[in-house]
Amino acid sequence: MSQQSAFSSPGFDFSNSVRNNFLQEKGMPLPKATSTGTTIVGCLFKDGIILGADTRATEGEIIADKNCEKIHYITESIRCCGAGTAADTEFTTASISSNMELHALSTGRKPRVVTVMTMLKQYLFQYQGHVGAALVLGGVDSTGPHLFTIHPHGSTDKLPYVTMGSGSLAAMAVFESSWKPNMERNEALALVSAAVSAGIFNDLGSGSNVDACIITATQTEMLRNFVKPNERVEKERHYTFRRGTTAWKSENIRDLIVNEDITLVGATGDAMDIS
């Protein structure tokens, strides 16, 4: 009979760490993770929260995904935008979403934004910033609309308008000049689009389209590719070759069946006995 440790394992395997340190010392670079670069924003308006994000995912200098989704689902009326390492943000938000569902079932109440924020910050603090997830969390619950920002080391802020990611300065400039409390829905949506567009056009790490998500007490509306300022134009000339440009010299059809030998099985007339 052996004693199991009462505590669950941390979920990561460190047996290669000595080898990795050795390789790193010898000059071999660590593989680069897909990062989201990003401009993510959140803004409080009269009826709730609007979240906005761009849609470019980068891998070093290459664009890995031209239309990725950065606004992740947490619960029905809570959403989270993620910047930083794409895998980290997706895994963390998916994991917290599952935990929130279990929590809501266990307490019997509608989930609250502060609960999500606390779960996220405790998880990120535990990993000391190695989980590269910078998040903008927003939602409406029974206590009203809330907007939080969570940094990779676990610190949080509660603010009426937030921006994160490499394009955060461009977006924040737009917010600082035009945000005012109790905006109407259209005004707020235009402001969020302008902020994300500022990030898209002025930051290399952000690009492609604008996604927006409007969360109110009654419903959540996801506007995927709300603005598409970077659509590829159709080429002016056609570069395909017309049929018959090259004549073919010979044709050879190979039959896939080389040799076919049919043997009937059980067809000697043994019918089923149904007397």
Binding site: Q3, G11, F22
Partner: protein
């Protein structure tokens, strides 16, 4: 662990040992891990220690608070229940699940990365002999 209010595992004195990399002869296994270098063994141990000891440290703080509120019998009783439930007759190499222990530890209402990876972070055990040795030496 000694009773303390710490919620974050303390940083350990930097040590280098061959526990991680020892082969069957008890020496550093150069074939599998490369030439032995004390510098690489010291670096990177702090983070691993932090997340390995995280749950234990938080649990210890909680038990210490219970002891201060209700007396030393409260944590003693909880620890006794855990110990009774942890005795497992199964082989250590295979994935194990102990739902009674999960309920006692409060893990029945949460999902951790461990649950997603089902204990398969490192793949099947390379040698069952090593696993059995470790188990029976306990």
């Amino acid at each position: 662990m000694e009773p303390s209010y710490r919620i974050v595992p303390p940083s350990q004195i930097k040590t280098a040992s061959i526990n991680d990399t020892a082969g069957s002869l008890g020496l550093h296994d150069t074939l599998q891990y490369g030439i032995r270098s004390i510098a690489t063994e010291i670096r990177g141990g702090q983070f691993e220690n932090r997340i390995a000891k995280w749950e234990e440290t938080q649990d210890n703080a909680r038990l210490h608070m219970l002891a201060n509120l209700y007396g030393p019998s409260a944590p003693m009783r909880l620890l006794m229940e855990r110990q009774i439930v942890s005795a497992s007759p199964h082989m250590p190499g295979m994935p194990q699940s102990n739902i009674h222990l999960d309920i006692l530890m409060g893990r029945d209402e949460t999902l951790d990365p461990t649950d997603f990876f089902l204990g398969l972070e490192s793949g099947p055990p390379l040698s069952i002999h090593n696993e059995m040795e470790k188990k029976l030496r306990l």
